[in-house]
């Protein structure tokens, strides 16, 4: 197979530091060697490739953005580039990493107790422990504030009851960041998954994210000590949403990786494949229109996303910026995967090509971490000051 070529139409790389280029290239090389050769098998078999966990720890992806506790202390732009490269391989492996980094390590570091930090952060960074994040429920996705999960105070701890759904890494996790309503409001809990009353059955037979573990979390009279409460969590949704901002930011970059994977594959195919008297497909007007649209959208996404990353590194990126890049990039990643699937003709329906896999994955990525339409409402609310959610 021809070596993957990223897209750089407008001198994007000139805006990156030498270190940022090295970070991107090192992950790209790793994905070429360790993800591309095995990912399709796992996608077909509906399994997560467990050796990735230790490898991701070894190369420093887990905890890349964390300062202290063994983390890499990397900038938002560097971590963004890491997600871009991971998702060029597959959305499943990017999901695995961004859940651990954005939705487990981040909240423990921001809202956890010293004890929780010291116990779990080093283990999550070195790959000893896997974590997941339980906010969404079967009946409360876009409206997490309506959650039914309850935490009742006892003399020396809490009793948790409720069900969470669409939980990446759920069945393979050692700990879960779980949100539950207390008398005072919504709080976050850090729950060991081997606690009595805690189960995390696998959701099987998905069309999408098949190389990733997706689960339910069921808590039935799950007793946890007082120390499981994350003391820094607020009484509303602020804590939960701040974590989602981290993950959404990573997804926006990841989507660019998927776009590039599909563009590279489609371009190689139409340049090589001939029809009608030996003319390459690439020489036909409708194909060129697709290529030009795709390259334009990748280029727009790159600059917008990099700028949000630069703002984030200066502490100036807000949730609306992140909402815009998450929605836009996922929307175009899905459209581009579909366009490339078209360009591949009949071959595009086989597992010999990746566009179909990216296309199916992005049905999820467009939907999770704030569905496409919800991001319109977030930005709409930001522009007008009039919330239109309900």
């Amino acid at each position: 197979m021809k070596k993957f070529q990223g897209a750089d139409f407008c001198g994007f790389d000139t805006l990156l530091s030498e270190e940022e280029v090295m970070v991107r290239d090192s992950i790209r090389e790793w994905v070429d060697a360790e993800v591309i050769p095995v990912v399709d098998k796992h996608f077909q078999e509906d399994t997560f490739h467990m050796p990735w966990k230790d490898q991701l720890a070894e190369i420093g992806v887990l905890g890349a953005g964390l300062t202290g506790h063994g983390g890499g202390g990397m900038s938002s732009v560097c971590t963004g580039l890491i997600y871009q490269e991971l998702e060029r391989g597959d959305s499943g492996i990017r999901s695995f990493a961004s859940v651990i980094n954005g939705l487990v390590i981040y909240p423990i570091n921001e809202y956890g107790s010293e004890e929780q930090k010291e116990k779990w952060l080093p283990r999550l960074v070195n790959g000893e422990a896997i974590g997941c994040y339980g906010l969404t429920e079967p009946d409360f996705g876009s409206n997490p504030g309506g959650m039914l999960t309850r935490a009742e105070k006892t003399a020396d701890g809490w009793v948790l009851n409720g069900t969470k759904r669409w939980i990446t890494n759920g069945s393979i996790s050692d700990i879960a960041v779980v949100f539950a309503k207390t008398k005072e409001g919504i709080r976050a809990f850090l729950v060991e998954t081997d606690r009595e009353g805690f189960t995390a059955p696998l959701i099987k037979e998905k069309w999408s994210l098949r190389a990733s573990v997706t689960s339910e979390i069921i808590m039935e009279d799950c007793v946890v000590p007082e120390g499981s409460l994350m003391p820094g969590s607020d009484l509303g949704l602020k804590t939960a949403l701040s974590c989602l901002n981290q993950a959404r930011y990573g997804i926006a970059w990841g989507a660019i990786g998927s776009m590039m994977a599909c563009y590279d594959e489609g371009l190689n195919y139409v340049m090589a494949r001939t029809q009608f008297k030996g003319k390459p497909l690439a020489g036909h007007q409708l194909v060129q229109k697709k290529l030009s649209n795709i390259l334009t959208e990748i280029t727009k996404a790159q600059f917008m996303t990099l700028q949000v990353g630069r703002l984030k590194d200066q502490g100036l990126a807000n949730y609306a910026h992140i909402s815009m890049i998450k929605r836009n990039n996922c929307y175009w990643a899905l459209r581009i995967a579909r366009m490339v699937r078209d360009m591949l003709g009949a071959s595009g329906i086989t597992h010999e090509y990746q566009a179909g896999r990216h296309m199916l994955n992005f049905e999820s990525v467009k939907t999770y971490e704030g569905a496409h339409d919800i991001h319109h409402l977030i930005l709409g609310d930001y522009i007008t000051g009039i919330p239109a959610y309900e």
Partner: protein
Amino acid sequence: MNILVLLKRVPDTAAKIKVAADGMAIDPAGVEFVINPYDEIAIEQAIQLKEAGGGKITVLCLGPKAATKDIRTALAMGADEGILLVDDTAGRDAVATADALAAAAGDVEFDLVLAGWKSVDTDDGSVTHFLAAKLGIPCVTLITKLELGDGQVAAHREVEGVTEVVEVKLPAMLTVQKGLVEPRYTSLKGIMMAKRKKIDERAAEAGEPKIRIRTMTPPPPRPEGRIVGEGADAVPALMQALSDEQKLL
């Protein structure tokens, strides 16, 4: 033990090479450059020796300013310091290159010099020999295994039909062959640490060129393939083409 590793920046082996307009060099436009893969093996070997017994690894490179990226990669893998002898002359000949490297090596304390047995761009493979001669140290080429002893090293070489094990006193130059060790991935932590490591940049003191490139031409295009037939019926025609026309059988 202190180790000096030689590094060259070369076009990626997957790159499509085009000859520049002047017909004297390759056109670098659109070509991705990487560390010479054999030098990467030398870097890995140096790191493994350092991990086992301590010491310091200095990476020495003659090349354009852009080669700082490649030195930085070696530092991210685990080398300690870099020296870049800045030289924009494409195709600097081996003797002149060795002159410049020898001058810089004089400032470095080392017990061992490691380098790829050749660079994959020019396939010349002689810089290391000239450099060893200039430094007055022995040179063992094409090694596939290395055993460090007290003040000496045993090196395995795969030569025609046998494995030869040679002993050499340190300091020495060893040029490495594929199979010695497998280069590691650069870790993100290594990249962060490499930021703080020193790269000393200075102008290359390359001597007068002894060799001048007169022309560079691409190989002739391959003749188009020919389909002699389809299925089992085509076998006799194929056999005939292979034996009579191509003289391959």
